[in-house]
Symmetry: C2
Subunit: 554 residues, 2 copies
């Protein structure tokens, strides 16, 4: 009989940035590390989120022992509620993670899924969690841009496997402990079969600067600001928000938080004590906006130029409560995720047009630092863990390919560095590694038909299940309608009558004609198109097809 | 009677990157500096080029004395053939520029316009050209990424105006002279009313590195390359091509050139002696591909990830003559123009998947340097020219706004730095500057209905003149058709019968269904959609409407 082998299957996050998910399988046991979501690119307007396809897991559901979370970022936990709904387990699935990651994941499941399907477990470092017969998991603290980040060491019958999650070696993290090099080295001595390493920053030489340098920069900028300060970063970048709040307090400013996701993430972080703002610093938005401008700071969503976020509305003067004035400073404490460069750039330009000072990484490089390991840190991890095999994860294909080169510099021959594709089955024995084909993990499209209700659609089913295409052309400058709208139903097999389609198109045309001109954006129109058409179609035909708004700007 | 004033109207290139064009007007005389084109962004698929609207010039055509070219880049000369056709002058318009800029402009006009409408004049430095009663122009050598680059000093009755064009202060330019600081200083002493300065690199501190550093990098990379080298850069970056050819020669490689625009630009540059490759180094493509891999280098288009360029086809293994093999090296000696990040990133990933070595600026910063002035150089220009007023041009709005701050550091109060919008009428007296509203400037959409024939369309006329919208949805991974195509005619007032539209749609569907799967790209589909539909519509209805292919990928 063949010796049992360890199978590692990256279901998301390789050859792409986002929706990280990795499956580990040994005989009768499976564990999943992370269950992320990804935001669709410009060319996929109409879809709200993308998550990995977990058919492979579903077909072997009785083997699934747990979902382990490395940390609480969207691209690692955002798929949890949908994953649980897809798997529909009979008994709750244990979900292990730090207090913060678990709290964020639980909030998501409560909002969008079924909380009864998960059994959340807060983990401690230096503790082993048994997962079925064949796995034990230990959570090892690492530094990243959110507290409660862990690498996960899986003890298997073939030796340790170390899954780094997102990490860097920050010698002075403002919140939480440093990366636990001692423990990583000790596990390395015990024998590591495979290291799965974050590879996304492999293009950068040296070390990523410590998060602490941002603190100095924020202090200087906020200290010298004449008017109000508005700072934007990722809602879940709790470490950064903590630094911004402390800098504001030092300079006599009260802080308000604007934007739903940031209000939520900070509330949870404060409840759990990760975020401990000095007493009285955090005030409601209406209090902050009533203060003299030099005495307030507003933390807001919109660092990626998202059309519906608070900052985009502030930038075009369309926010109901926050207005800019000369002397104000807007700080982008984030870099654009690849694909968002244009929308961020447009937001920055709009802010400059309002006559305010805008600080962003191109002109102030230390207003943001990455949470990921640069080359020397990737090498340090390899030296500590000393794995027999390496698998780079979390990166575009080029990052994975460059990681192989980097490992080569430490003496790893190419055959010991496996570059995975989505769904690759990587199979390991004690001494060897091989590929055993791929599983189907083509993306699942998440379509929010209401803010609380999402429909999951498999891409290859859309051609048969049908789609509504709404097309129109607008004038890029005035926002006026140049041509369209055309609304067509494809593959819906008479679920929607021509008469209904005509009525819906007419109503939609009226909406487009009367909507406010100016202050519009592509993303805003996409989201409104979906809402208006979706509501109409449901009212008139009781159906919720996928709606693809395809808008051209002339 | 009011004293006559100088009017400066930026018709393109401000609040955007591309289609640079500036109008100067004093009493009975007008001159235009540059006539650039711009490539449309992702959201304007179906349009081939964008150029400024010159209605204002056309209405005063009898006053136009000349078009002056700062240098031969697309964003400064690409609009020339269309501009001439739009203006339809009775006598040829004098077009002044360096030998190279004039040669490139002439080639364009011969291909796409009417050569009889231009009277090309090659200029010399230290020479004044009289343009009507009120202007004289002097061309001052500057360094940029193409030889034959000039700043233009216009002598007006109110004093000098200096228009920098694109420039940097490169102390060691590999081709051509250094920026003529002596002459700029001398003109500064004579009294400069306005400086119009390139501002696009105002975010960067210090000096832009010399182009010479690229030479060392290319030498090192090409010298250590094991297989064939493929290098991509802008077709018109003659300086860079010269350096690449020399480095190849030094390491015993022959060089072939692939891609129509690069073949053309290098042929012209060699004829004029700007590019002087050592004898026998340049060989036809079929000779290069027959040589041992270590003895050849191919220079190619596609540095921006353009779907139809040679490199994109090489990257997916779809090029008829150039195939990659392990050990080959592909060098990106260029950075993505804003908006092209995604396509460049995809091309790089595809190349890595082919198993070749890929060198690009993120991992080898000196494989490309900018041709534009950084902050200290922008300041040096201000100190040399010492203008009374400044107008930043060539940049997004944020660059223009930051230039005002930079000038402020040298003591210029905000009211002496005028930030223009497209079409702003900036009016100058000897001692004062003011805004006098704006002129309507566009944009004009250029639609290549065949490779030789372009139709110019004014955006605000499209709603009335009509448009064909072709929509379909494809599977991002397999390239298969998921929904559509829908082809609709809007606003065409019966020019195209329903019957014709149906036939055209059917033919187009057949094309989509039978086209090769895989190796497709968004840009390629857009271009094929235009071709197939355009040909059909012309054959069946003798009409050439604007076709907007709106494609969604799931």
């Amino acid at each position: 009989m063949a010796k049992p082998r360890l199978r590692i299957i990256p279901l998301g996050g390789v050859g792409e940035i986002g929706k990280s998910m990795t499956l580990y399988e040994y005989r009768g046991d499976m564990v999943i590390v992370d269950a992320g979501a990804k935001f669709p690119g410009e060319d996929l307007r109409g879809v709200d989120l993308i998550i990995p396809d977990v058919r492979y897991v579903k077909e072997r559901l009785s083997k699934l022992r747990a979902i382990l979370l490395t940390h609480g970022h969207e691209d690692h936990i955002g798929g949890i509620p949908f994953l649980l709904s897809e798997l529909r387990p009979i008994a709750p699935i244990p979900v292990y993670g730090s207090e913060l990651a678990v709290a964020y994941a639980r909030t998501k499941v409560e909002e969008l899924g079924n909380p009864k399907l998960a059994d959340f477990q807060v983990v401690k470092p230096h503790t082993r969690y048994r997962l079925g017969h064949n796995f034990e998991a230990e959570f090892i603290p690492v530094t990243h841009s959110i507290p409660g980040s862990y690498a996960i060491a899986l003890k298997t019958p073939l030796g340790w496997v170390v899954h780094t999650g997102d990490y860097k070696f920050d010698p002075t993290p403002p919140l939480g402990p440093t990366t636990d090099q001692e423990r990583l080295r000790a596990i390395g001595r015990e024998g590591v079969l495979v290291l799965l390493s974050d590879a996304v920053r492999v293009e950068r030489p040296g070390h990523t600067p410590s998060e602490a340098v941002v603190s100095e920069t924020l202090n200087r900028i906020i200290g010298s600001a004449r008017g109000r300060v508005i700072l934007t970063t990722f809602a879940s970048n709790i470490t950064r928000l903590d630094q911004a709040i402390r800098a504001a307090h030092r300079h006599g400013r009260k802080v308000a938080i604007s934007g739903r996701s940031m209000e939520q993430s900070t509330r949870v972080a404060m409840e759990l004590g990760y975020l401990r703002p000095p007493d009285g610093v955090i005030v409601p938005l209406e209090v902050a906006t009533a203060l003299p401008r030099k005495q307030s700071m507003i933390l807001t969503t919109g660092s990626q130029g998202e059309a519906t976020a608070a900052l985009a509305r502030i930038a075009v003067g369309d926010h109901p409560h926050i207005k800019l004035a000369e002397g104000d400073t807007v700080i982008f404490s984030a870099t654009p995720i690849p694909g968002n460069e244009e929308t961020v750039s447009q937001t920055i330009d709009q802010l400059f047009r309002q006559g305010v000072r805008v600080i962003y990484p191109e002109i102030e490089p230390t207003v943001h630092v990455s949470g990921h390991a640069s080359r020397d840190e990737l090498k340090l991890m390899l030296r500590l863990v000393r794995p027999r095999f390496c698998v780079p994860i979390h990166g575009e294909y080029r990052h994975l390919a460059l990681y192989r080169e980097l490992a080569g510099e430490l003496g790893y021959p190419p055959e010991r560095v496996l570059i995975p594709e989505l769904g690759s089955i990587l199979s390991f024995g004690r001494e060897d590694a091989r590929r055993e084909g791929t599983v189907d993990t083509g993306p699942i499209l998440v379509d929010f038909v209401t803010s609380q209700q999402a429909i999951l659609r498999r891409r290859d089913e859309i051609a048969t299940s049908g789609v509504i295409i709404a097309t129109f052309v607008i004038d890029r400058e005035t926002g006026g309608l140049i041509a369209g709208p055309e609304v067509s139903a494809q593959g819906l097999n008479g679920q929607i009558s021509d008469e209904v389609l005509e009525k819906v198109t007419d109503e939609f045309r009226r909406f487009l004609e009367k909507r406010q001109k100016g202050g519009f954006s592509h993303g805003y129109l996409v989201s409104r198109t979906k809402n208006v058409l979706g509501r109409q179609l449901y009212r008139r035909a009781k159906t919720r097809p996928l709606i693809l708004p395809i808008i051209s700007e002339l």
